[in-house]
């Protein structure tokens, strides 16, 4: 491990039948990330269950109800490392009734691993996972065509499935896609190269995971920082310090740069920057920093600091895709809370534009309702204006959650689209130095 070790997050989705748990077990086992006591505990459970085979799924299925039902219900996070990268796996269930968990796992992933059983080809579940990965803007996708041992390691079958998948791809928005023929059970092309498929010349899954270029997965173009907390020490030493702290969600910033504050339209220059390393001349996404400005402007939590070129939208009327995550479905006209960046404000849903049929992935217009695990497109109005870019441009600036005001439950997560009408760009010069 050294300073340049990168962190990569990937998501898997599927059920035991797809060999998803076997694949994760294989990655952990072959990269020597399973410990003896974990193994003993698996063996103990296998003995108790009367079975003889250790069930690798028990490694990830951490809740009693999951082990009882033999299914993954919730997102489980698993960790493993190679000398080059550290990995966080968001392991999620694949069934329709767990769409919300799949969406959650996908929100921070650099890569989606889509599993396909070579015997069955592209089925509904693999399409759904691919669709959600694309909707949530996961930059890289790897399609693992699994159980190649059961189709005689056939190159023809591999090509067939790849074609089948490509037919479906144009409907998705994916920048980077790879196909790898594997057998998770036998270990072919997972960590070690397969000798059974001499026709395949690509990387193994692990070396692909290690090599994919992820540094550009963050938006480094348009500076955005929601003000999270204002640091005012009130000490003799730092009497006048007023630091606007937050996580940079896009772009880079330097001392001396012009900066705008939205939605109020004030303007100033960067006086100082504090990063995790201390005072710095420059900072970039996704660092958590504290910024001092040259002018004494009224700025509080929820406001957004932005570069003066490529301004974000400022508006109260929104258009977004969302995934409903609560048993009680969306109610038009009811007041909810939205949390976007560091801003929490009220909203009301105005219109259900469309709904995605999660089986066929067809778009149905003017749906009558949006319920648990549904994905739809909606229009809503917020009490305070929100400052954002379209989710497609930057997922950390365009994502939000909806909260029920009475129960405080998180009931939905959404992705903002470019609005039909935004407030005019404020005349920042009014506040010029």
């Amino acid at each position: 491990m050294n300073d340049n070790t990168q962190l990569m997050r990937f998501t898997t989705a599927g059920s035991v039948d797809d060999g998803k748990s076997t694949l994760i077990g294989r990655l952990l086992h072959d990269s020597k990330s399973i410990f003896e006591d974990q193994w003993e505990s698996l063996e103990r459970s296998a003995d108790l269950a009367g079975g003889s085979e250790v069930n690798l799924a028990n490694l990830t299925d951490g809740l009693r109800s999951e082990r009882e039902q033999g299914i993954t219900i919730d997102v489980a996070y698993r960790y493993f490392a190679t000398p080059r990268r550290k990995f966080i796996i968001a392991d999620t269930p694949g069934h329709v009734q767990y769409t919300r968990n799949m969406v959650t796992g996908a929100s921070t992933a650099n890569m989606a691993l889509v599993l396909i059983d070579a015997r069955n080809g592209v089925v509904e579940q693999s399409k759904r996972h691919a669709y959600i990965s694309s909707l949530l803007g996961i930059p890289h996708m790897t399609v693992c065509i699994n159980k190649m041992d059961l189709v005689d390691y056939s190159e023809e079958r591999f090509r067939e499935i790849r074609e089948e998948f490509y037919e479906f791809v144009p409907r998705l928005d994916i920048r980077d896609i790879s196909f790898i023929p594997i057998s998770a059970l036998k270990g072919d092309n997972v960590v070690t190269e397969s000798t059974n498929m001499p026709w395949y010349h690509g990387p193994t899954l692990l070396s692909h995971l290690e090599d994919v270029y992820i540094a550009s997965d963050w938006n480094l173009k348009d500076f955005r920082m929601p003000v999270q907390y204002v640091i005012r020490p009130h000490t003799d030493e730092h009497h006048d310090y007023r630091g606007f702290s937050g996580q940079i969600t896009g772009g880079t910033i330097k001392v001396g740069d012009d900066i705008g504050v939205l939605p109020n339209g004030a303007r100033s220059k960067v006086k100082s920057i504090l990063t995790h390393e201390g005072p710095a001349e420059e900072a970039f996404c996704p660092q958590s920093v504290s910024i001092e400005l040259e002018h004494n402007i009224d700025i509080s939590r929820g406001d957004t600091l932005t570069s003066l070129d490529n301004l974000p939208y400022t508006t109260q009327d929104h258009d977004a895709h969302l995934c409903w995550m609560h048993e009680q479905g969306l109610q038009l006209g009811k007041k909810y809370l939205i949390k976007h960046g560091a801003r929490t404000t009220k909203i009301v849903f105005k219109e259900l534009v469309s709904q995605i049929d999660v089986h066929t992935l067809e778009e149905i217009e003017n749906p009558t309702q949006i319920k648990l695990n549904d994905i739809g497109r909606v229009k809503f109005k917020s009490m305070a204006p929100l400052v954002y870019d379209a989710y497609k441009k930057n997922r950390y600036v365009g994502g939000f959650v909806i909260i029920d005001e009475a129960s405080n439950d998180t009931v939905a997560a959404g992705m903002l689209r470019s609005p039909e009408k935004a407030q005019p760009i404020p005349d920042f010069t009014d506040y010029a130095i």
Binding site: T5, D74, K86, T249, F284
Partner: protein, 300 residues
């Protein structure tokens, strides 16, 4: 800075700082649980960075089981003093005396007794958020837990009713009486913690490093001999060079034989370890679901 790239440790740190600031911004009465153990030492460092040049805007809280390693308590008190932070200590002893906690005959560890003691402390000070240094790689029930882990009026965790967490957005809303346990270093592994301690040059209680100690062998573990844990008849007391990998109740925390005297030795040991960190803690071995059960009752 020619390359806009963060290492894995910087990325984990930036995430943890973000979470700490979210807590400071959204809650009225947060606290940071600080035991003097390695994870909470990392937490304290992150909190320092998150709020500088200001002070850490919450008090520190420790539940003293009466079975804490004395070395840990000394360290805890000294660090709090150095930082000028307010340290609140509530003891299991006191909770037993007041009848808040009740001992079950034959129960050696005070791990379970921490739960009512902690809940009483949260109630006493009306804390609406308690920051803890738990990590998802420690145990599989924890692997399912959120950064913001909601607890109801009874301090209970309901794994099936957890709030979805997407991107860097956390829902910290609670009603009076309810509270949130918040785990900023959820995504860190044991190796990450040690690497960070090395990188930041953080001071640790010396028991994390190899030292000579009297131990007895019990249930496959080397347990430290002390006043609370005298050797039983027929047990051989040995003086071995040991260290602790994780610190819990002194009655159940196993020591491992080790020569590691520097952070780099420990990192090498962690990299080649064949059992998990909590593998030496008897409290987790009771059953497959012991952590889940304790968490449901209000354990951190």
């Amino acid at each position: 800075m020619s390359q806009y790239k963060l290492s894995h440790l910087e990325l984990l740190e930036t995430e943890a700082i973000h979470v700490m600031r979210e807590v400071a911004a959204e809650f009225e009465r947060p606290t940071l649980m600080f035991s003097g153990g390695k994870d909470s030492i990392v937490m304290l460092r992150i909190a320092e960075k998150a709020f500088r040049p200001g002070k850490i805007p919450f008090p520190l809280l420790n539940v003293d089981t009466g079975h804490n390693f004395p070395e840990l308590n000394e360290f805890r008190d000294r660090r709090a003093k150095e930082l000028g932070a307010k340290l609140i200590v509530r003891t299991v002893e006191d909770a037993l005396a007041k009848g808040i906690a009740t001992q079950v005959p034959g129960e050696l560890s005070r791990n379970r007794l921490q739960i009512p003691t902690l809940l009483a402390a949260i109630e006493e000070f009306q804390f609406d958020a308690a920051l803890g240094g738990a990590r998802r790689d420690e145990e599989k029930a924890r692997a399912k837990e959120r950064f913001f882990s909601f607890r109801d009026e009874f301090g209970q965790w309901e794994p099936k009713k957890q709030r979805p967490e997407l991107w860097n957005i956390y829902n910290g809303r609670v009603q009076p009486g309810q509270n949130m346990r918040v785990f900023p270093i959820s995504n860190w592994t044991e190796a990450d913690v040690w690497e960070y301690i090395g990188q930041e040059n953080l001071e640790l209680p010396h028991i994390y490093f190899a030292h000579d100690r009297e131990v007895v062998r019990r249930k496959g573990q080397w347990l430290p001999v002390n006043d609370l844990l005298p050797p039983k008849e027929g047990e051989e007391v040995k003086t071995l060079k040991v260290r602790v990998r994780t610190i819990g109740d002194i009655m159940t925390t196993g020591c491992i034989e080790s020569d590691a005297s520097e952070i780099s030795d420990i990192l090498a040991e962690v990299a080649s370890a064949r059992v998990t960190e909590r593998g030496g803690r008897a409290d987790d071995k009771v059953s497959e679901s012991s952590m889940e059960d304790r968490k449901r009752e209000g354990y951190f």
